[in-house]
């Protein structure tokens, strides 16, 4: 009996604490992570996996809603009815990536002793690149926001309920991170510089440094006030000139490294299964074999699953003639593609363009007026093959995210803004791009250069904030549009930093988007395109080959001269300078009133 009691006592007294420790088999305890180079790489890969822009981000980005792209319906942001109550993108998921990056920066010192210094610094550079990248992304939308430099705990109410930080402070922190990344990220090594162009390395850091410094440099130069506050820049950290100098430096560093060059075939950059390695600095690979596909092609070839994104006449007019002189707008769509910058027919459907069918045939593509608001159709990202065109998620073209061409343009623009542009720099940058496009490069001011009055008027007349622009500056602006349009938010960013957001409202006489020019003859008899006849009329319904001209009301087509002329898709938009920042969503303000509202939006 006594024995039994002893046994029972022994069992009861056994160390219960071990027995009650249960850990999951397929997870590891967070405090044991960041012990090795492998851990750094796994975590850094996770950042890429989550944040690497995808085909939709790149090919269906904000550029679709700018002055150069017509749509069936724009975003409510431009309707004049937008408000804090309708705003979004300030939620937990908005801020989860900054937390993830901060988690790495905060915890990676655990392996500082075990990992070689260079490697460690590379990964710190990678983490800080991402911190700069994500903060920049938020700052471009909201202006004053937060630079998240720690893992915020739920109990840290001081930080959680703090006021937003000043844009100039935030950008200063971004600058530090970018400089660190450019300094410390490695340029070569397994898992650093690869065929897939997927890893963050020195070149990616330098390319983005040139973009971000140019962005903020020109922003400070062309905007007199911080749009979040409506107050003039306080200049506590960097001046516009300082930022432009940095933009020029990092672009130059990358050019001087000589690693990248321009790919010969402009169009292949956007529609190839494999990324052209010579030009693409950072990209995302898609693969038919692995089933990683996207739906970009279909979104541009469908009457229903997109907003009928279409290039405008203004965009077409920005493409020079092959002799390097400006083109005229009032020409028929059947003829205007000939003798032009090659990028025009690489970006926009031209007569004679063929597609590839799975049965091996290559028929010419007809225009489909159900797919366009302007008469022009985008083909920049479109795989002209029957399968990707037939349905969603069938495209497999890999996507460049950062190209060497942009670095050249960043270089050119920073230099021009600083007054450093000269013939040789011109030929290295803009000249090289024009050469690839089959256009004679003419440096402004030299013999044969023809100034483009239309372009000058476009950027300077009837705009809210006029500035003196040199022909060099104008030509660079032209070149950015013709080279980079529709790649993410390149055009949108340009409009924002040049203080030209109102071009989105202005478009064609503030009326809508301007499309193809229909000559008086064509208006009566129609025109032929790849053997098919296209007409405009007031009676017949919209079909593949017939436009229904219904008048000047919103969402209707009209002709600029009444019975002929430019095809206008009427659509009213509204711009106000407060739109340089988005409103802080009301829901977020309710949780933390200290956020405060961006200038102008308080009253909306």
């Amino acid at each position: 009996m006594k024995k039994t009691i002893y046994v029972i006592a022994a069992i009861l007294a056994c160390s219960c604490s071990d027995f009650l420790e249960k850990t999951p088999a397929n997870k590891f305890s967070a405090d044991t992570f960041f012990a090795s180079e492998t851990d750094l790489r796994l975590y850094a890969n996770g950042l890429i996996n989550t944040a690497l822009p995808d085909a939709t981000d790149m090919a269906l980005g904000e550029d679709r809603f700018t002055d150069l792209c017509g749509t069936k319906a724009s975003k409510e942001f431009y309707w004049g009815t937008y408000s804090a109550a309708k705003a979004s993108n300030w939620t937990t998921s908005t801020w989860s990536f900054p937390r993830r990056v901060a988690y790495m920066i905060e915890n990676m010192p655990r392996c500082k002793e075990t990992v070689p210094e260079k490697t460690y610094n590379h990964y710190e550079g990678v983490a800080r690149f991402w911190r700069a990248w994500i903060t920049m992304k938020r700052m471009m939308v909201f202006g004053d926001c937060y630079f998240i430099d720690k893992v915020i705990q739920p109990s840290d109410t001081l930080t959680l309920y703090s006021k937003r930080q000043d844009r100039e402070y935030i950008f200063h922190r971004i600058r530090e991170d970018l400089e660190f990344a450019c300094e410390n990220c490695l340029a070569s090594g397994d898992g650093i510089f690869s065929d897939g162009r997927v890893y963050v390395n020195k070149y990616v850091a330098q390319a983005y440094a040139s973009r971000f410094f140019l962005y903020e440099g020109t922003y400070r130069k062309y905007h007199s006030v911080n749009p979040s506050t409506g107050k003039t820049w306080n200049g506590e950290y960097e001046s516009a000139t300082e930022l432009l100098t940095l933009a020029e430096k990092y672009a130059k560093d990358l050019v001087d490294a000589g690693v990248f060059s321009l790919n010969k075939d402009y169009r292949s950059l956007f529609v190839s299964a494999n990324l052209p390695k010579d030009e693409v600095i950072w990209g995302r690979t898609y693969s038919e074999e692995l089933g990683e596909k996207h739906g970009v092609t279909f979104k541009y070839c469908s009457a229903t699953s997109s907003l009928l994104y279409s290039p405008t006449k203004e965009y077409v007019m920005m493409f020079l003639k092959t002799d390097g002189t400006p083109a005229d707008g009032a020409v028929s769509v059947t003829t205007e593609f000939t003798g032009r910058d090659k990028r025009l027919s690489a970006s926009i459907l031209a007569p004679g363009q063929t597609m590839k069918k799975s049965d091996g045939s290559t028929p010419e593509i007809s225009l489909n007026w159900n797919w366009t608001t302007s008469g022009y159709e985008w083909i920049k990202w479109v795989q002209l093959e029957d399968v990707p065109m037939s349905g969603d998620s069938k495209s497999y073209n890999s996507v460049p995210i950062m190209r060497y061409a942009e670095v050249l343009l960043n270089y050119a623009e920073a230099a021009a803004e600083l007054g450093h542009m000269d013939t040789s720099l011109w030929e290295t940058t803009v000249g090289a791009l024009r050469k690839r496009a089959g256009v004679t490069s003419r440096y402004p001011g030299t013999a044969g250069y023809v100034a483009d009055t239309w372009l000058r008027n476009y950027y300077t007349q009837d705009v809210l904030h006029t500035s003196t622009l040199s022909d060099i500056q104008l030509e660079i602006r032209r070149e950015r549009a013709t080279e980079l349009m529709l790649e993410g938010q390149s055009r949108y960013d340009d409009l924002m930093r040049w203080n030209l957001g109102d071009l989105i409202e202005r478009r064609y006489n503030h009326q809508g988007w301007r499309g193809i020019y229909i000559t008086p003859e064509e208006a009566t008899n129609g025109f032929l395109w790849n053997g098919k006849k296209y007409t405009v009329s007031k009676t017949k319904g919209t079909s593949e080959t017939n436009y229904k001209i219904t008048g000047t009301s919103n969402n209707a087509w009209s002709l600029s001269e009444g019975t002929y002329g430019y095809l206008i898709y009427n659509y009213k938009l509204v711009w106000d300078d407060m739109m340089y920042t988005h409103p802080i969503p009301q829901a977020a303000l309710n949780v933390n009133p200290n956020l405060g509202q961006n200038e102008g939006w308080q009253w909306q």
Binding site: L12, A25, N26, A30, T92, W95, S96, T159, R284, V591
Partner: protein, 1103 residues
Amino acid sequence: MSLFLFMGTAAFAQKIQVSGTVKDASTGEPVPGAAIMVKAGNGGVISDTDGRYSIQVSSDATIICTCIGFSDIEQPVNGRAIINFSLEIDAQMLEETVVVGYGTLKKSQLVGSVEQISGEALEDRANANVSRTLQGQVPGLSIIQSDGKPTHGGSIYIRGGATSYVMKKNLNSKDLAEYSIGQGGSALVLIDGVEGDISSVNPDDVESISVLKDASSSAIYGSRAAYGVILVTTKKASSEKVTLTYNGSFSINQRTVMWEDHIISDGLEFTRNFYDFYLGKTETPTAAGALPDKMNTYKIPDNYLELFEARRAAGNTDVYDMNGNDYLYFGSVNYFELFYKRRNTTRSHSMSVNGSSGKMSYSLSGRYYTQDGIYKIGNEDYNQYNLRSKVTLKLRDWMSIDNNTYLYRVNYIQPIFSKNSDKVGSQVQQIAVIGLPVLPVTNEDGTYTLGGAASGYAAFNDGNSSQDSTTSTVITTTGINIEPIKDVLKFRGDVSYKFTSRVVERYVAPTPQSLSPGIITYYVSEADSYKKEYRYDTNHLSANLVGTFTPKLGPDHKLNVVAGWNLEDHKYDIETILRHGMLYPGLPSFELFNGSEIEIKQYDSDWSTIGTFARANYTLLGRYILEGSLRYDMNSRFPSNQRGGWFPSASAGWRISEEPWMKGTRGVIDNLKLRGNWGSLGNGGVSPYSFLETMGLAQSSVIFDGGYASVAGMPSIVPDSLTWEKIRTMDIGLDLDILKSRLSFSGDYYVRFTDEMYSTGPELPAILGASTPKGNYGQLTTKGWEATLSWRDSFKVAGKDLTYSIKGSLWDSRTWVTEFYSETNNIFDYYEGKELGELWGFRTDGLFTSNEEAAAWFPDRYHNLLTSTVPYAGDIRFLDLDDNKEITAGAGTLEDHGDLDIIGNIMPRYQYGINFDMKWNGIGLSVFLQGIGHRDWYPSEGTSLFWGGYERAYNFALKCQQTDRAILDKSTENWVVTNASENPYWPRRLYGPAMAGSGVGTMNTYNDYFLQNAAYLRLKNLTVDYTLPSNVSKKLGLEKMRVYLSGENLLTFSPIYEHTDMFDPEVITKGDSDFGSGTSTTMGDGASYPMLKSYTIGINLTF
């Protein structure tokens, strides 16, 4: 039969006349109506009004006096001529032993809310599992069935523990969300002390089932018992002679709803119906409707209806034709008929051997249960095997050891159909969207049509797409009992080990189809064909040490003390393997697939608890009862500083009927007991590792240098402090037995608080960058009551005793969210004051009778006909409750909910069960009715069986929607409803998105017009049985022989049938939990495995 009887009575020789009186021992009053019978013989007499009787018996016989409400008395005759009986009031009911936590108590000692039913209540019910049989039998115990599948036993909740339900995310969303608050939880089921699945128990093994409903009864189980405990006790090894029993039954089953009988399968009529709905899409008073060129994806020419009409007029019954290069059909197919049999069968055999020899007693029992499929095509088969062996070995007078080993195996094969890997749709839904009557399943050349392939017919018919699941369980318990002081002090120690393996293999073969002659395409391509295997392994170890102390303290004091220690260790591992590319349909081995990637997943969920507990029950003078219990539990699911918890409970009872001053009422009031108790429990049901900061690896979706890479993510924020939800229950109850225990009443009222409920905390600013960790916030309050009333009596019919009893139980509970963090007070989410299950919607006032009337009404956005939002005649009228001249949902918050109102509640209320039993001369009749007194149901989106063409034009053409509907006269621009005076139920015919399809239409926006009343009353079971007289069965070499006829789910009465005949109100909820996700929009209500009604013939033999 009479020959046997004659032979039976002719055996006796010397007879004498015996007479006497029968009196009530407590009052001395004569007892009329008592039965005096010869033991083991036939016939008997009844005492007269003065309690006298007289009977002729053989001189060496034994006679028995029985009377309802009194204990039986046996007296050997021994040649006496006068034998008087003095009957004691039957205290048997009160002295009945009730199984409670870690022991037993006499019913008189009981102060908690415990209900026990005996295994007999489960007899003769040809159900695959016990939970189906248990439904409705115990007040406060809700067993919610999801469908009729034999593998599904339903969810078991005690006292409204069901806190989750499915409802729309918000008024304008088509998506449904599962609402679940706190950790919730089902009842803890212990089978012979081991945590288990009640569905796995062999019904023939059950000795008793005890339901511990309140916290004071279940507190002794600590952190696992927050939502009540069900104790299943299996039959013990008997100490009598060896008995062998056999039970066999055969059932014919029929679906409770015959879908095929309620849809239009005539192709032409279906097409007219389709056109009607489709044309409504674009029809306005100024424009004609557009003609369809497709029925779902089936292409038809513009003049399809004209062609069909012409063929019919010409008597052309050809099904096959051509539309350009494509096949065109003019069929009249009823897909349900193609898929479903009208009846299927169940067979069950069970045997047991029971006995003892010397120091050993044993019992061995086994059961085989099989049910064939409900499908005409495809292999469906259910096979269940149970085997239990119990042995007790008496080593010493004071010591015994025992072993209880249980084996359970169930194998279920069912045909399946799926297009995308891992997403298996509901069969009914698939038929709804593509089982168009006009489409035959095969072409003339034998290839499958679009309908044949996409409805799943091809997959079923080919038999190469199946789900094969096998669950095997072994439980073995070995215990030692030591009794140092006989009847006073006992110890028991036991160790149990349970292993459960569940393997599910799901494989889908490529499905070819032919849409034009000679061209084969694939509805499911080889690349999409797949096999997925799921393995779930449970290893559970538990150990108990329990001491019971019942000292003999004299007649005035009774004490029962239990103390012990308990350990549970649970390991649960899950593995899944997926591979695509089935090369050899019919040979679904992973090795015969060609997919280049094999996806393997593995995770686990382990937990353990250790607890010590004690309970003391003290009865003073047989009338004052006090009980207290305490448990200290430690649970691995909480951080080490929060791991332990104390769970106390206290109860008191007062048997008023035993008070001396109540003596005068003896014989009328036999028992009157008042009970009250309070208990606190912890709910440790949080997922095992929720307090640990962990990181895992995943495969990238980004391609890194030609392939995928492993990536690590950030750990989520773990709660600062995480501990038990605390559940407090207060219960008061009354037990009353009167009229010699003929009439009994038992009632309880309780309030339960779930404090520190595991829920989302206050919202934090978004820059936190992570979801706010859940923690112990919030409170739920449940209030409920239970009442049971029973009557039993007997009288003579044709000289034979007829005993009968009737018992009715009714119970109800409601739950409110009483504390909760909500920033917005969104009415479609939780907010303080919300009653669980409440449904917000619009109030309505019938249909508009003319366009004029509709146009004059307030605008809303729910009459959403594509771009126009104008209502017309025959559309439903929403009411403007807030008088702001428009119909809106406001901000959807409690403060601003526009015209929304609480229109109903989807939780089942007023559940009840009624049992009637009768026995006469070996013949028995039992009737069991079960039902729900109130339940609202709003058919969710995707409920094709209810919405029919209003959901999709090509959906089922429901017969019930043909007549009772608004018929419009469209001859003028002011359309009018011509039959408005008949008050038609269904609105005008209109294309789905404006009505009940995807989008925001008038029908799928919650409103009181389409709110259905899903209350029901069901004749759950009716059994007639006959037991052969024992002398007859003995002649056949049997101890006992009994035959029975039984019917299950025979009749159902429900107001739901007013507008639909496609549903079984008992299983109205979302589709089959085996497939897809329960909340997926592609799964409609009731689109699941049908409930079955069954007719059973059975036999019980005891040798």
